[in-house]
Symmetry: C3
Subunit: 445 residues, 3 copies
């Protein structure tokens, strides 16, 4: 790949230790009980703010956002189920997944039959606690392992959920990095899941360090694009942000939703609804060039916040670059999606791909060959190796020939790299050489 070297040209900092940094941040965020509103979100964003200067927005309960309304804010202190002997058989303090997320408060004695109406398990994975929510339907409940469920005796239980659902705010974080042009690259993640790592803490930690990296680069280099990073609750957060920023969404020229970036699986790319947007071509090219297996998914309308960004009335060029797709691994949305399931090294690989997206988008120019009739004489310009006829062709020479042959105004360097199956970086370097020789004119808009 030679990726590191190439990235260094415009991104001088080494990034290989970032995997561990991301992992360390995830360790800090893991214990917090998050939801789509409440103090868990605030604590999470405050941790992130120690690394990057996000602005934190608080949108009041009751605010209308498109077809939706910001719900009551949810907070929770404690929750448990005590058996007849007074032993806590289920305890929120051992795992915040134990409480059905957004449970209404409860404090009562209840027999087993009635309790069971409020218990959720994964019979096919009897040791795992499921992750469930009930945001818009008032309910209370406990998520427990199926083993726990089967051990419950027919007796009277004390159930306590010390939660509150009150007027408050929906909270989210945003970071805008201004570049030379107003066109934006959007990176969005969600910060609403409690103790769950791959889906979804890997998203916020990767975007935190991607933003930090960009800010450091910006100290010495120019960024062409402006960048926007969103740390929002899933669905209602995306709808809220889009509703409040509707007039400016057309500035978003490329975007990615970041989640599921720390598992050991192959990379996946879920295309934007447009299907052949530049971001789609960029990510496919990066995965193709990686030489490793990968999966491309056409857009589908379930999933994460691309559902909102790619709704028909917005149809933004936003895809999702992840490792194993949500729902495709058994640990998904359960207590097994924990700090052991994700690894720093996988986060580093993901980080590299996200950096590469930026590298390509920042450098994807379109040129016109100023000597379009027959090839220019490269030898007299010192470009060619002077000895012809050799058996092994030089890849650089071929990259130069491709750039000259396809630079007629409608092919970007990305297009040329895809067509030629040569890495974007080789194509970019070839174009740099040709520009220096006066053989190409930049006609990028």
């Amino acid at each position: 790949m030679g990726l590191k070297i190439n990235i260094k040209e415009i991104f001088p900092e080494d990034y290989s230790f970032y995997g561990q940094k991301m992992y360390n941040l995830m360790v800090k965020l893991y214990p917090i009980c998050r939801s789509i509103t409440g103090d868990g979100v605030r604590k999470t964003l405050n941790h992130i703010k120690e690394d990057i200067p996000i602005k934190i927005a608080e949108i009041p309960t009751g605010t209308e956002v498109f077809d939706w309304t910001i719900p009551n804010e949810w907070n929770i202190e404690d929750a448990y189920i005590k058996n007849a002997k007074g032993d806590k058989v289920v305890d929120f303090k051992t795992s915040n997944l134990h409480v059905l997320n957004y449970s209404t408060p409860v404090n009562k004695k209840i027999n087993l039959t009635d309790l069971k109406k409020h218990l959720f398990t994964l019979p096919e994975y009897p040791d795992l606690i499921p992750y469930l929510t009930s945001y818009y339907n008032e309910n209370w409940g406990f998520c427990i392992t199926h083993k726990q469920f089967e051990e419950l005796k027919d007796e009277i239980y004390e159930v306590v959920i010390n939660s509150s659902l009150k007027d408050g705010y929906l909270t989210y974080g945003e970071l805008y990095i201004k570049g030379e042009i107003e066109d934006e690259i959007l990176f969005s993640c969600y910060i609403c899941h409690p103790s769950l790592c791959n889906d979804n803490l890997t998203g916020p930690v990767l975007l935190t360090y991607l933003a930090k990296y960009l800010l450091k680069i910006k100290e010495n280099s120019k960024l062409k694009y402006s960048y926007r990073f969103l740390f929002i609750p899933e669905t209602i957060g995306a709808i809220t942000w889009l509703s409040l920023n509707e007039n400016m969404v057309l500035k978003i020229k490329h975007g990615l939703i970041a989640t599921c970036l720390g598992d050991s699986g192959n990379f996946s790319y879920k295309k934007s609804r447009i299907g052949n947007a530049t971001i789609d071509k960029v990510v496919e090219k990066i995965l193709f060039d990686s030489g490793k297996p990968y999966n491309i998914y056409d857009f589908f309308p379930s999933g994460s916040d691309e559902r909102q960004f790619c709704s028909p009335g917005l149809n933004l060029p936003v895809g999702s670059l992840l490792r194993t797709l949500y729902g495709k691994y058994p640990e998904y949305h359960s207590s097994a999606d924990n700090l052991d399931f994700v690894k720093a090294e996988y986060l580093t690989e993901s980080f590299r791909h996200y950096l590469m997206v930026i590298y390509i988008l920042e450098n994807n120019k379109t040129y016109v060959n100023l000597n379009p009739k027959c090839e220019p004489q490269l030898g007299k310009r010192g470009i060619y190796r002077k000895i012809g006829g050799q058996k092994e062709g030089s890849i650089n020479k071929l990259a130069i020939l491709w750039v000259l042959n396809l630079s007629e105004g409608n092919n970007s360097l990305l297009d040329i790299s895809i067509r030629s199956k040569i890495s974007f970086d080789q194509i970019k370097k070839s174009s740099d050489i040709l520009v220096k020789c006066g053989l190409l004119r930049d006609i990028s808009n």
Copy 2:
């Protein structure tokens, strides 16, 4: 599939016993000696008329129809070959295939050498009688098994064909069922083959009962489309009908030629010449959703009456939905294509697919999502299951999301069902729910 239930919504009658009814009608029609003209056609149409109120047309010999002329009417009483001893070695009464269809009358003594010039066999299938015709080249002949052929001794034979070729008529049947709009769905079959079942009696019996079914439905429900059923002699009948109805062919919006519908083979679809007409998409979707193997053939200019409907000057959206394609099974055009070769159960399956074509075409609306910016909140409308985050996704929820995401005016429900790989019926039901919630507007023309 759940097909039966869905069809029932607009088609309340059960149809599972129709296979046997179709088979019974075929048993009645099988012995008749049909050709492109003559009393065999009339008897066949009169049988059909007992089930559905077809109009029978008689077009006189000599009528010019496009480039063709209605030929003399052919009728036959008897035919045989007697050997020197006076034994009938070939007898029309044992199989009407024995006579070269449209043979001129003959009554003479003939030696073996001369007789052989008028004998046709299938050497590769020595027990089968071939089916051959000579409509436009005056000739006489006998079709016999190759075994019979090889047993003929070198003696004088008496050949008798008691046929007539005289001024008369070309006869065909037609049924028009008026719907809410003048746009038509055409179902056409041919009624010119003698004792041959799969090709082609399965066509007329299936269309007879399809028409009967539609008429019964119409007693209680509205049909959007008008329907036209043709029972015509192949080629000359199609040319005649098209010539007489040239001014109205543009009303035909979708069409199918029905033949080869009773064998045990996989379904096949021969596309219209247009190639991506709605009828092509509908049939491919039905076969795809069946979960069984099937064959799709691009249009080719040999075959049945789609040759005329899809001639370049007409180019109508008419395909052919059949089981094994004509010519692709060894029994084709031989005495082995008999009542044992086709089964009621296969006719039922074929009938179901034809009903499904009607079901989809009648229900294929196009909607616009009235809440196109982000998803509408389905929960507050009672659409969603309120508990989110569960492992297994609900297919209905996904269908609803697809309908919302793709309903922007240029995708019909059929298009959405194809793109999403969800059954048309699920997509239709989802759209019904969304219409009730006021989230979709019907913009079908």
Copy 3:
């Protein structure tokens, strides 16, 4: 294939012995030391002129051709390396590949270390002499086997290259055969390689006999297209010709670069940069119809003179029909690409394909079906076999139906033959029959 018969219709001469004739010409040309300029080219062209009346052009050194300048003319008398004993250890007279092509003159004593800077070998093929050039970077050198290289002792050598680089000319040959229209078919080959057969003497010898064949045909028949044959030095020759003829290149409607036509490998076709030009469709159809394996390569900007003809400012419909692609066989650009490596029979096969290209292009008409509504009655015109219903279809009947069905003005016979998978010749013959019946009108422009 039946190719010979079909070709005979417009090309009455047998061509099967042409393989040997081409081979014999190659034997004459093989010993000559060619380069991009000089007497080797002149001798080569004079041999060719014995067969066909090419015009020989001489373009002076220093002439500017697009971005390039005609270099000094190179000639060589002799070259060798003598060891300390005075034995010739490398001798130009045993193989003209021994001298780095375009070497400057040298005559000096030199030690082994310095000599090695001027020696080129193929370590992976220790018995082969590589072919190398240094046209635009003044240098001298010897190409030797790696075995020779390893046997050299550490002693003083005498190196002599008796060459000259002086004001002179670039020489090329051209033959123009005028047809009925000014639109041209271009066949181009290069005549700059020394003793190397497949790449590239097979190109000049095949084009010599293709031209000769056409001239003979023209004595009795009319050619629709005009034909241009170029025998030019690679790269600089193509650039020179295009620069001098820039105003007329748009007359080139179809073109092929001829090289690598005598090895035993499968045929290959490198598409024009346009990718779906008529020449691309013609050659793919010929290779498809051959029934043998073949390779299709999308255009790539390395290779031979298609690089110039397909440069973005010209973008001519010029592909390359060859057997094994240059660089894909180990003998490429080495002393193993000799008279043993190519065979007359393979040249004959190549010749047949080139003739077939001409046959298709000369006959590729576009018709309109004058009876477009339903099929015309072929029987009454004597076209059909009159007995219908037979098991085996006649290919001619099907070809006729395809021509009738697709002749609506936008499909050429080539298009119809590709769509129907029927040979071009069958389709052409069917169209001839239909034209005679008055059923088709020629609307070729």
